[in-house]
């Protein structure tokens, strides 16, 4: 029974064009990032992509180095792929952390209602309203050398309200539907109701919330990179930050900063397209207009 419901939701989702485009874009980016070790091995062999002066400095783009080399004589394309991979890992891990924190809280708040809902909802709204980036920056600043995973954990601790906010309203409205009442009356357990009746129906909203959390975390990470804060692993944001301090403006090598920005932008846009597609599908008022 459970299987049918989940697969049905998934089948509906792929009918929307915006969702499909976003999904394919994201898949391509993920593929590119996951092939990073292979591509770098083929292009650079055993040589470390971080190696100082592996090539000449500040080389313009050529067939050998499609994006040229940078201020330390490193191949830019290789570094971009590593940065993309690490940025995505941080984003997805932070998204996972927010899923683990945000979903139970949203379910609890929406399902229990009353005072629990009021308290949890105001906590969610409170964290959303506050400019949390500054707090994250201060934490990372004082922790000095954080690993990629610690950073993802910190980002997740602050980005779960993005997810919870998307989900809680839906749970709240489902709670009062007749079929949930029926499930309660027919003596189904709370967990059974949540997993069998509520979760399949809010799946699209969980997806929207999950991608919001990922994007939020990746944006915060990129913001920190620009002023030289971040984990010990190279990410796109950190690469941009170091490009600025290494005289990118004065050398006028546009692609050095434009390319990582473009990569991040593609990630954000693909998530956003998926969200808009889901919104068009599952927001009944929009469905009427778009004629789906």
């Amino acid at each position: 029974m459970m299987k049918v419901k989940y697969s049905k939701t998934i089948a509906i989702v792929f009918k929307n064009r915006k969702f499909k485009v976003g999904f394919v874009m994201l898949l391509a980016i993920l593929l590119m990032a996951s092939l990073e070790p292979l591509i770098n091995y083929i292009r650079l062999g055993d040589k470390s992509p971080y190696e100082y002066a592996s090539f000449d400095f500040w080389l313009p783009p050529s067939i050998e180095h499609p994006l040229g080399t940078d201020w330390f004589g490193r191949d830019v394309l290789a570094l971009m792929l590593i940065g993309l991979k690490n940025s995505l890992i941080i984003g997805f891990l932070a998204g996972l952390v927010s899923l683990l924190i945000g979903l139970p809280i949203a379910l609890l708040a929406g399902y229990k209602g009353g005072l629990t809902d009021a308290v949890l909802s105001s906590i969610i709204d409170g964290i959303l309203v506050i400019p949390t980036w500054l707090i994250i920056m201060v934490i990372v600043l004082y922790m000095k050398r954080v690993s990629m995973f610690t950073l993802a954990l910190i980002l997740g601790l602050f980005s779960w309200p993005f997810l919870a906010r998307c989900v809680v309203g839906q749970v709240r409205s489902l709670r009062n539907r007749a079929y949930i009442e029926l499930a309660i009356v027919s003596n189904m357990g709370t967990f059974e109701i949540i997993f069998l009746e509520i979760l399949p129906n809010i799946l699209p909203y969980i997806l929207v919330g999950f991608s919001n959390s990922i994007v939020g975390a990746m944006m915060a990470e990129a913001a920190m990179g620009i002023i030289g804060l971040g984990s010990t692993s190279l990410t796109l944001g950190m690469y941009i930050g170091s490009a600025i301090t290494r005289g990118f403006f004065f050398r006028k090598i546009f692609h050095l900063v434009a390319f990582p920005i473009l990569l991040l932008l593609l990630v954000f846009i693909s998530f956003n397209l998926m969200n808009i597609g889901l919104d068009e599908l599952f927001n009944p008022r929009l469905r009427k207009i778009t004629g789906l």
Binding site: L128, I130, L134, I135, V138, L141, K252, I289
Partner: protein
Amino acid sequence: MKMIWWFVEKFLLYLASIFIVFSLLFILFRLMPGDPISLYFQTLACRYKVSISNYQSIVEEYRKAFGLDKDLFTQYICFLKNVILNRDLGPSILAFPTHSQVLILRALPWSIGLLSIAALISWCLGIILGTVLGWLRGGKLDSIIFILSLVFSQIPIYYLGLILIFLMAFIFGLLPSGGAYSAAIIPRFSLTFILDVIRHAILPALSIIIVTASSFIISQRQLVISILGEDYLMFAKAKGLRRLRLLYRYVLRNSIIPQVVALGIMLGFTVSGALMVEMVFNYPGMGTLFKLAMESLDYNTLQGIILMTIFVVLTLNFLIDLLLPLFDPRVRYGEK
């Protein structure tokens, strides 16, 4: 009577949230590993080759000045008393004898000026363009601007700032790359100074406006489309109301309220983004001060800036909450 209770409840909630946030921030800053004073002297020693022979006694001296020699609870009480009653954030490390609030108050007008003007422009622009797009949905104009704003709304503000600096300042040389006014001009109330300030503010403001307006365009378009699907609009159309009146009375008025709420929610995000833009442009506002304070581990100033931004955002949200019933007859004072 009901209205007064409603107001009291809202106000108490607002005060409570500020109190909770202030307390949590105090705890957060005290949880940080290492003592800020000795950490500061360690960085001094390794960065500027300062040798300190009577290290312990100097650190003790400073700890006394910063009030760090007392136990945590006394520190907390002192912190609350100083911040709330005396509006005193304690001495800064950045410019030692000067207190942090002096530095922050010096930077505040620049931030407020930049952000408020940029936010207002982008909000109005987003509402107007979004309404037009929703009205003309499916057309060529709609699809072009929609895709553009979809792309621009996803660029982090500070990255757009970087691109703008690169293009406008370094390639074309049209506008200054940073700062708030030229070093050659004496800051006083004169036309040349004002024009210079505006010239310096164009790029940072533009990067905030483009991104924020784009996201308002998208949400407003979505809102307008969903309103256009409502039954009452169908009825109004059937009555033969003129299109402009329809647009103004039925569509715009119904979409303003959710957008005012959205402005409140977006505010925190926009403030963070705007502070990052200041760092990129070296604009002498709170963002740049934050960056400087981070470099010298000036925890009092860092704490002060975070307190200030949170206070401003929470207060604005509280005001929006209060004013909402004025715009929307459906939300009455005293009713949920």
